[in-house]
Symmetry: C2
């Protein structure tokens, strides 16, 4: 169900013919209201795709009626023609739904630097509109897949202070940033809670900061990343920011874990938790430095608890710590104590897919966890063997 689990939404996923595989490649999500509140966050990459430029403007007024998403082409680095194609996509969708084009969010994912086949997209929009259904969430989640091996969905149900239930649904695509051609992370979140745009925006930024922003599969930032949240108010529930934020963060965290868990070529899902840091920012910086060390990532692929590679990555940061007070554990074994040799590294079991690396900075009380993957033969293969 995912994005159609909340009341007030319809969705569809159809085959427009953009993918040579013949798999579904066009998804449409419509908010039937009564409210049309929306918020979104986008890639911070300065080389942003045409649909990112378009959609940033769409959500500025806190309203969106629909999201149209295509896989099979990123529409990035495509010049004025690319922007025109995004505009046409929004206009065609708006006409089919009887709404304004400036209330239609557009998302694209696939190869950078090629124009979209607009005849196929425009025809597909008609088919998607005809296929819209209150249980179309799974079809939409399937249509946005590129190299994903499974569709990714999540649902949360909560209640406001009056006991009135509300639901948050979400779908995501992308394999971290590991996907060939930077076929990037797209996320649509829906809710039937009655939440004003300002609060939607604040809560969405809070939730993504500690979930998607901390999923760092290969350190490569894409041109198309978009997370959009639509609220219909169809449940009548009016949750507090805290209650709504808790649910939203839970949905985002589940989708983030699913993205990392399906990262192409990966054989380990690695959580890097830095604790006893002077600040949350320090903890995040340290965890991310380790998550971006190719030497650390290849060691985990080789099931080698190489804590020297962890320390050498930690040492590149400006976080508060003393080198001779660093502790490192892997899957519960403290192999580095006070910056030097700790327990027997042979005690560390790296056979399981899940790996927990814990870095104790002994510098404060803050912590943060970054999710990443190992660097494998299959990663190299999938990102080199064909133009993508």
């Amino acid at each position: 169900m995912s994005i159609t689990a909340p009341r007030g939404f319809r969705a569809a996923g159809v085959t427009a013919g953009l993918k040579t595989s013949g798999n579904p490649d066009l998804a449409l999500v419509v908010n039937d209201g009564p409210a049309k509140a929306a918020a979104a966050v986008f890639t911070s990459n300065r080389v942003a795709a045409a649909p990112v430029h378009w959609s940033r403007e769409v959500v500025k007024d806190g309203r969106a009626d629909a999201v149209i998403l295509n896989s099979g082409g990123a529409n990035a680095c495509t010049g004025p023609q690319g922007f025109q194609n995004t505009h046409s996509t929004a206009e065609k969708t708006a006409a089919a739904l009887g709404v304004s084009a400036t209330d239609v969010v557009v998302c694209s994912t696939g190869l950078i630097g090629e124009q979209l086949p607009m005849d196929k997209i425009l025809a597909g929009i008609g088919a998607a509109t005809a296929a819209l259904s209150a249980d179309g969430g799974s079809d939409a989640a399937t249509a946005i897949m590129t190299t994903d091996s499974v569709s990714k969905q999540a649902v949360f149900t909560g209640a406001d202070a009056a006991g009135k239930e509300f639901t948050i649904g979400g779908m995501a695509k992308g394999a971290g940033m590991l996907a060939p051609g930077l076929a990037t992370m797209l996320v649509v979140l829906t809710t039937d809670a009655d939440v004003q745009p300002e609060m939607l925006d604040v809560v969405l930024r809070d939730a993504t900061r500690v979930t998607f922003d901390r999923a760092d599969s290969d350190g490569c930032m894409s041109t198309n990343d978009t997370v959009v949240l639509l609220a219909s108010a169809a449940s009548g529930a009016v949750p507090s920011a805290v209650e709504f934020g808790r649910g939203l963060t839970q949905v985002c965290a589940e989708l983030a874990r699913k993205l990392i868990g399906d990262a192409e070529g990966a054989s380990h899902d690695i959580a890097i938790r830095t604790f006893n840091a002077a600040s949350e920012r320090d903890a995040e910086v340290v965890s991310r430095a380790v998550a971006r060390s190719n030497l650390f990532k290849t060691a985990i692929f080789g099931k080698d608890p190489n804590w020297g590679r962890v320390l050498s990555a930690v040492g590149t940061t400006d976080a508060v710590f003393e080198p001779d007070q660093l502790n490192v554990s892997m899957n519960g074994i403290q192999i580095c104590r006070n910056g030097s040799i700790g327990d027997d590294r042979n005690l560390v079991d790296l056979e399981p897919r899940e790996v927990l690396v814990e870095i104790d900075l002994q510098a404060g009380e803050a912590e943060a966890t970054i999710l990443t993957n190992d660097l494998t033969h299959d990663y190299v293969h999938e990102n080199s063997a064909y133009s993508s």
Copy 2:
């Protein structure tokens, strides 16, 4: 010849038994004067090895009589015992040479987090001292190799204003930072020019900034990197800073190219030149961002001229540029023009080992080039298949 090409130096390389392979693993370089001027640069990693801590102090007064280097163990993250072992190494070397321990630079390279077998090192120092010779440069260059497939040496000969000749020699080890166990970059440079320590320091920092600092094989900074320069004044030549700097930069650049050219697992040597930048710093930041993109590096391995991955890396930087004014060429073919589709990507020939990526920011007149490698199956294999 390399480091013994300049007059006033002797060197040796012997087998102390640190490597299980039985290959040479202990090198000694001695400056017989008449001057004993020295300068050095070290890793900026805050988790620095014991020999780095020691050697930083040694060169502070601008004098060093000898450099003792071992492969087969990094002596990093080894606590107080590790520092004591470095101290003992310097003292034993000093006693054998009749100099002060505080004038002996110590370098180590190999696996992090293990104590050195000091009995073997101390015995080896005696053997190395006995083997010292005015043509021992190549033996020393061989003894510092870890996973290097060839030893790396370079020589420059120049003249001062009076026409008096001087020579600069150099040896290096390490495969970028690609080496298993962070068996890191060590460089010893020698000269028979008469150069004061203050000028040595300035010229060495200038030379390394545009050579070794711009060789970025896999973005992983090590705990042991050391570049040390010894000047004997034995030639009597007194070159200007400009003339000496030119020669030193040439030697460092040649060694940097040899490091990148021997990077483990690499199948392409990639020069990323950013030009028309607002500042040299901008050009360096942009080139380095591309050099650190795993998606770009796997694409080059796959002989895929994927300029979208170049732009997505450029877009993560804060350099001055407009996204719709970026131009990118690969091996002479301009595949991206004004941020959009340029010439036919099929015209790009990525069969040769040498790859030149040129990024035109259209924002100024500065430029910088970073040398890197592609990301290959062999890189993953060599850094994961065995504990190192």
